[in-house]
């Protein structure tokens, strides 16, 4: 009996400091490794995601959102490439002694990081890669806060049928991790909705010449063209699509990169009325929290990188990830066991929407923001849905 009482007293004592809202860091600091691409062809995204993560960490420490712990971010350049991501994850864990991990951008790199996280028993929150089940497949130490492809494609299929009248559809993808899962899910969804897939093309992702594929569109006469290709290739595709003068409505699954896309192909996208899906777009329909974050990040990017920047979904996803980690530390502490248990029962509203995790440790899509946007002839963007 006595020993039992002592245990309860001990637990109470432990809990006491957090109740008293001690100053952040009073319980020490937690090192969180952040893996993102700073070199290679996706460095344009990593540069601004890094600043978004820094803003989140500063807010957490300023407003003591991590239950008395101070968050210290350690960045690793994983280059959106599996081998670099694997080595960087190992470095952050064994050299920098990080206790938690956030990352990576490209799915194939996240696969590698998830493997290391489970081997070294260091919890990982996959914040951007959207391939299905990366967390689920890799093991108990990985969570995935980004909306998985299968959920976003279900949303897209539903919205497409609402906004467009079409019976036949052409599906064109790139053979990277993103494109191939998209194609599998979308073909099934379209067939389930009774639409005829008249053209189904998978293009080699190093092949920047889309002309051959585009010439097949008029021949197969689809009512709607659905495309899922990466940011760089998307700009290429839209340019060649407009050049070829094809008027079939075009929907691109890939969220727009910031300035690059609009500046380069805004006019052409406007000419063909390109519709795109996005988890987040800077627009007047943003929530106050979103507007506040956008202002903060764009100001910071202007100051640090002195270049104008339109906030993208990837920036928001990275910001939210750091906040999610802080929230889980507050409720379960930085040690793996408590942290993972807390993360599993997360219920929190952040910039992109409401976050909860299912039993496969993937985020539930219901609460998350999802919009359709159309490029107007003058190149500007309007939110459709």
């Amino acid at each position: 009996m006595k020993s039992h009482l002592a245990a309860i007293a001990g637990a109470l004592l432990l809990a006491a400091p957090s109740i008293a809202f001690a100053q952040a860091g009073s319980k020490g600091s937690v090192k969180v490794g952040v893996l993102l691409p700073l070199t290679g062809n996706t460095a344009w995204a990593g540069k601004t995601n890094r600043i978004a993560a820094a803003i989140a960490a500063e807010e957490v420490n300023a407003q003591d959102l991590a239950g008395g712990y101070k968050i210290e971010l350690v960045v690793g350049d994983s280059q959106c490439e599996p081998r670099a991501a694997h080595d960087q994850a190992e470095r952050l864990i064994s050299q920098e002694k990080v206790q938690l991990l956030i990352g990576e951008w490209c799915s194939s790199a996240s696969v590698a990081v998830a493997q290391v996280a489970n081997d070294e028993k260091v919890p990982l929150l996959i914040n951007i890669s959207t391939a299905d089940q990366i967390a689920g497949d890799s093991g108990p130490y990985a969570f995935q806060s980004s909306m998985q492809n299968r959920y976003s494609q279900e949303r897209e299929a539903a919205l497409l049928q609402k906004d467009f009248k079409f019976e036949s559809v052409a599906i064109i993808v790139e053979n990277n991790d993103f494109g191939l899962t998209f194609r599998k899910n979308m073909v099934a969804l379209m067939q389930k909705a009774g639409k005829k897939v008249v053209l189904d093309v998978t293009q080699d992702r190093n092949d920047t010449n889309w002309y051959a594929t585009i010439t097949r569109i008029p021949a197969s006469k689809p009512d709607l063209v659905i495309v899922s290709i990466s940011a760089v290739q998307a700009a290429n595709f839209v340019k060649q699509y407009a050049e070829a003068g094809i008027t079939t409505p075009l929907f691109s699954d890939y969220p727009p990169p910031p300035r690059i896309f609009e500046r380069q192909v805004g006019a052409q996208a406007g000419k063909i009325g390109l519709v795109r899906a996005a988890f987040f777009v800077k627009s007047d329909t943003n929530t106050p929290a979103q507007k506040e974050f956008v202002a903060k990040l764009e100001g910071r990017v202007q100051k640090e990188l002195n270049e104008a920047h339109d906030v993208t979904y990837w920036d928001v996803a990275t910001y939210d990830a750091v906040r999610l980690v802080a929230d889980a530390i507050k409720r379960g502490g930085p040690q793996a066991a408590g942290y993972l248990k807390a993360m599993a029962v997360t219920k929190i509203d952040l910039v992109l929407g409401h976050y909860e995790f299912d039993e496969q440790r993937g985020s539930r899509p219901e609460g998350l923001n999802f919009v359709f946007i159309r490029t107007k002839p003058d190149g500007s963007i309007e939110v459709v849905e």
Binding site: A43, H86, Q95, S107, V111, A112, Q115
Partner: protein
């Protein structure tokens, strides 16, 4: 005698490394040791018979994915690794049939074509290899890094000794080098040049497949990008920087060219690291025509 003591001392230090450095560096060295097997395969092929191959990463990929896919389907890792090496050797044999008749640059580009073919197969056969999504959680069990390190060190050193023996002391070494220096004279001495080249291709593909299988068992994740033509160029670079005829040079080069760029990461995340890598390759080629191996050879003599 002194050089032998030097060698043993050096290897003793190498064996003790894990105790000194943290697991990150050990992971780096293990990767470098696995790399060096693929560099060995080039040493064996090019160093001995003079044949060029820019498709070695294709064989590494075959070895790796065979182990990956089979272990995920329940085959015990050892057998899966064996099948991987055998499949790589079969592909080496099939590629060797036309390749053994090719010369110089035609052979280089022909094998490059083979490498690209394998890479595209791995990327596009989604239902077997999950393509770009990558194969994750290959159940080969998490053996701790120290044992991996010692096992890999032992494998590399035995191979080094075997290749050195063949190169310097065995009759096979003379035959292989005859084929490299002068095929017509070799034929006139009763050497079936075509068969020697074919066997060299097959055995070298086997080594590359072994390197792939070991990588799959160690890293336990695979994506096709780990086996594209840039990787084949990287193996070739290490073999040449190491000194094409010298397996020891190749071994040292694969350690140096894996660890130094990683060490330079402190220079900042962007491109200085690769810039230094490129210039390092150039400097070695300018000042050490026979590569690091040539340097070691000169010291020893």
């Amino acid at each position: 005698m002194s050089s032998r003591i030097l060698l043993i001392a050096a290897f003793a230090v190498l064996a003790a490394l894990p105790l000194i450095f943290g697991t990150f560096w050990i992971n780096m060295v293990i990767n470098a040791l696995i790399f060096s097997l693929a560099v060995f395969s080039i040493n064996l092929l090019t160093g001995f018979t003079g044949l060029l191959s820019f498709g070695q990463a294709g064989f590494v990929g075959i070895g790796a994915y065979t182990l990956g896919v089979l272990t995920k389907q329940g085959t015990p890792p050892l057998f899966a690794g064996l099948y991987g090496v055998l499949l790589a050797m079969l592909c080496g044999f099939l590629l060797g049939l036309p390749a053994a008749r090719l010369k110089g640059h035609y052979l280089a580009i022909g094998t490059l074509g083979f490498g690209i073919l394998i890479y595209q197969l791995l990327t596009n056969s989604v239902d077997i290899t999950r393509g770009p999504m990558g194969l994750i959680g290959i159940p080969t069990g998490v053996i701790d890094k120290q044992t991996w390190y010692l096992v890999m060190l032992a494998v590399c050193l035995t191979l080094l000794a075997a290749l050195a023996y063949i190169d310097r002391y065995s009759a096979l070494g003379v035959i292989l080098k005859m084929v490299r220096h002068d095929e017509i004279a070799a034929q006139a001495s009763g050497i079936n040049v075509f068969a020697v080249k074919l066997i060299a291709f097959t055995v070298s593909a086997g080594f590359a497949g072994l390197s792939g299988a070991l990588f799959a068992a160690y890293a336990r994740f695979l994506t096709p990008d780990l086996f594209n033509e840039q990787e084949s160029f990287r193996y070739m670079m290490m073999a040449v920087v190491g000194g094409i005829g010298s397996p020891l040079g190749g071994f040292v080069a694969s350690l140096v060219l894996t660890i130094i760029p990683e060490g330079l990461r402190a220079l900042g995340e962007d491109n200085y690291r690769l810039l230094v890598y490129g210039t390092m390759v150039l400097f070695v080629l300018w000042f050490l025509p026979a590569g690091i191996g040539g340097l070691i050879e000169r010291q020893r003599r």
